[in-house]
């Protein structure tokens, strides 16, 4: 079908497509547009959020980030409790979910026989498709009572000397929010990690085993090889945890207060926006909510940046180890 003669192509067509094929040029432009569109959306979002939060930015300035007061009736708005709740609940989620996800993936790739790996893998992926409101309802009616009756009293009894496990036990709070998030991000992380581990060449495993490694040592070699991909999976899960709204709202207690106790209610940025946006009247109130959105945007940016740095650090080191081995 390629009937275009190469000789007639103009200069900038040659720039776009060294082969001079029309199809290549079109494809290249389309892909460029797709990539630019993504960048454009991010930039447009940042601009829109900044513009709409201008009123609040002017009124509160930097104090918005450090204030712990959130009182729409009196017109006082501060974001710190929400930032704390967002970051803390996501960290709890990762602390619980990452070891589990790694375990699931290692089992599925390295240990489980085929007839188990397939259905279990499918079930884990199915978890990712459950709507978050269902997780939230399950959280209220199943998880929270279990935590209130068994888990939290036990934690208070054995670990009560830590500031994290004190306070009134209601089954609703930061810990419950973190656990719900952990359950929600586990399928995402484990699905990606599974694919990453599966992509590690079989020769690596054979080489390790041939050198006399035990199964555990062989798995460590595979994990080291897959480290960048695993880190990417964790970042993906973190993104989901930071932005999750509905399920967290239903179990975190929605209280803009900073407490070290994981039993106490907390509040996340996404929950606050979802809860209050519909009924927000008054320009300053709306503007403050939009500024919360801007902060979530920045928090996601910063947390992702830190995560990338960590990945870079880890892969640089393991790369060295890999070469030495």
């Amino acid at each position: 079908m390629s009937a275009v003669t190469v000789g007639q192509s103009s200069h900038w067509r040659r720039v776009l497509s060294p082969t001079g094929n029309t199809g290549d040029v079109v494809f290249r432009i389309l892909m460029l547009l797709a990539a630019l569109l993504m960048v454009g959306i991010v930039v447009a979002k940042a601009i829109a959020l900044s513009a709409d939060s201008m009123l609040s930015l002017r009124q509160f300035g930097f104090g918005f980030l450090t204030s712990q007061q959130w009182n729409p009736i009196k017109g006082e708005f501060g974001a710190l409790p929400f930032v704390y709740g967002t970051v803390a609940s996501s960290l709890i989620a990762l602390l619980i979910s990452v070891p589990f996800s790694l375990g699931i993936s290692i089992f599925l790739v390295e240990q489980a026989p085929y007839y188990i790996a397939r259905p279990v893998g499918f079930l884990v992926e199915l978890l990712a498709a459950i709507p978050s409101v269902v997780y939230g309802l399950w959280g209220i009616f199943v998880l929270a009572p279990v935590l209130r009756q068994y888990v939290e009293p036990a934690l208070a009894r054995w670990l009560g000397w830590l500031p994290f496990f004190r306070g009134t036990i209601t089954g609703i709070g930061l810990l419950t929010g973190g656990i719900i998030l952990a359950i929600m991000v586990t399928p995402i992380i484990s699905a990606v990690v599974r694919d990453v581990l599966a992509a590690v060449p079989g020769s690596q495993r054979e080489a390790a085993l041939a050198l006399g490694a035990t199964k555990w040592e062989m798995i460590r070699v595979v994990l080291v090889n897959g480290a960048p991909g695993i880190a990417g999976a964790v970042i993906l899960g973190l993104g989901r945890a930071l932005g999750e709204t509905m399920a967290v709202t239903m179990v975190i207690g929605n209280r803009p207060e900073i407490s070290f106790s994981l039993f106490e209610p907390s509040y996340t940025i996404a929950s606050a926006i979802a809860n209050e946006f519909t009924e927000a009247t008054g320009d300053l109130y709306l503007s403050a909510l939009v500024e919360l959105g801007l902060i979530l945007f920045l928090v996601t940016f910063i947390v992702n940046g830190i995560a990338r740095l960590l990945v870079w650090n880890v892969t640089r080191n393991t790369g060295g180890v890999g070469r030495a081995a």
């Binding site: 007061q69 959130w70 009182n71 729409p72 009736i73 009196k74 309802l137 209220i140 009616f141 929270a144 009572p145 209130r148 009134t168 209601t170 089954g171 609703i172 709070g173 709202t249 239903m250 207690g253 929605n254 209280r255 803009p256 209610p265 509040y267 929950s271 979802a274 809860n275 209050e276 946006f277 519909t278 009924e279 927000a280 009247t281």
Partner: protein, 363 residues
């Protein structure tokens, strides 16, 4: 080659056909400028949504040429949209504030439609009859000052009831809500301390407790957690058979929330209702009045731009406060008292388009 060419042509013809159909299909529905039919759009409060949906479907049966949509996006959204004139009518649980009315591009009328109540529900084991609360006790519980269920102040209202020594866990709405607005409006009236520390609004800064999203969130947490206390809409409590407390009204009687007790509250404060019908009826007078109740309103511009749409709108509102009221009770809303219906009629009759009244007062 020829096969792929033919299939390409086929696809092309198909696309043309579908596009053509889409255009033909779109035409009659688009715009109300067509012959006969009028379409109106409304948005606002979620609380009266079940009733308004019932109204729309019943009204549609009698007036098939009038098409009305209602989006339940919340009272705040309703006020915003009517101010920006993106809807033909708005709806709100609490009356608009003076500054909102002033900044609107035209005079906005408040047409009350029905009444609702907020009830106090709780989770306490081993009670044989409903708990009773005085206003000060409710305020102190939600202020976090009364911390235990066996507090003497609670016991004083409930002689003969054995109350546990457990801590009270307060559950409130986390989302901005007219229900919270009515409840905090009541607390502000009965407790100076509440008024000063917290105030009234859709998203107050709660001194204590955990937040649940929506009536279902509060109900879920109260049902699941022992020793909790929360507040939900009357309709929601009745449908879910929640335990409901009796509240002492301004006449000193403990009143169980019911549709009749809410209408009694509205009737009791009818004499004090201002001309524009913007009124809070919490803590109303009257021996049988339930004290935590409120009107819900439809908001319309007094001067309608489009006479045909305006006429359809006032006819619908007129139908709503007369024929529509009979659907209220089955959906657990309290119908308007008779003299408020009269005053709402006058409001509807005052709606004009280009200077002429849209309804003839004689009916």
């Amino acid at each position: 080659m020829s096969v792929s060419k033919r299939s390409f042509q086929l696809v092309a013809w198909f696309s043309v056909l579908i596009l053509g159909l889409a255009f033909v299909g779109c035409n009659p529905g688009g715009g109300s400028s067509g012959s006969g039919s009028v379409s109106l759009q409304g948005a606002g409060a979620t609380f009266p949504n079940p009733l308004y949906q019932k109204w729309l479907s019943e009204y549609g049966k009698v007036h098939p040429n009038v098409k009305i949509d209602y989006q339940s996006i919340g009272s705040g959204g309703g006020i915003k949209q009517i101010k920006e004139q993106t809807v033909d009518f708005g709806a709100s649980d609490s009356p608009m504030k003076d500054e909102d009315l002033k900044s609107a591009p035209g005079e906005i009328l408040h047409i009350p439609t029905v009444l609702g109540a907020v009830v106090i529900t709780y989770n306490l084991q081993g009670l044989s009859k409903p708990l009773r609360f005085s206003p000060e006790v409710i305020a102190d519980i939600f202020l976090g000052k009364i911390k235990k269920w066996n507090d003497p102040k609670i016991a004083a209202d409930n002689p003969g009831v054995t109350l546990p020594t457990a801590d009270i866990t307060v559950v409130h709405r986390s989302d901005g809500s007219g229900t919270s607005a009515v409840f905090t409006d009541y607390l502000s009236k009965v407790s100076p301390e509440w008024k000063e520390k917290v105030g009234a609004g859709v998203s107050p800064s709660w001194p204590t407790g955990i937040g649940g999203k929506g009536n279902e969130g509060v109900t879920g947490q109260v049902k699941q957690t022992p020793n909790t206390i929360g507040y939900v809409e009357l309709a929601y409590a009745v449908q879910n058979k929640l335990p409901v407390a009796q509240v002492k009204n301004s006449s000193g009687n403990f009143i169980e929330a019911s549709i009749d007790a809410v209408t009694a509250a509205a009737a009791g404060s009818a004499a004090n209702t201002p001309e524009d019908l913007r009124v809070s009826i919490t803590n109303a007078t009257g021996p049988q009045a339930y004290p935590i109740s409120s009107y819900t309103y439809i908001l319309v511009y007094k001067n309608q731009k489009d006479a045909r749409k305006g006429k359809a709108l006032v006819d619908f509102l007129w139908w709503g406060i007369h024929d529509g009221e009979k659907y209220a009770k089955e959906l657990q809303y309290a119908p308007l008292p008779a003299d408020i219906v009269k005053r709402a009629e006058a409001k509807i009759n005052s709606v004009t388009a280009n200077g002429t009244a849209l309804r003839q007062p004689a009916t």
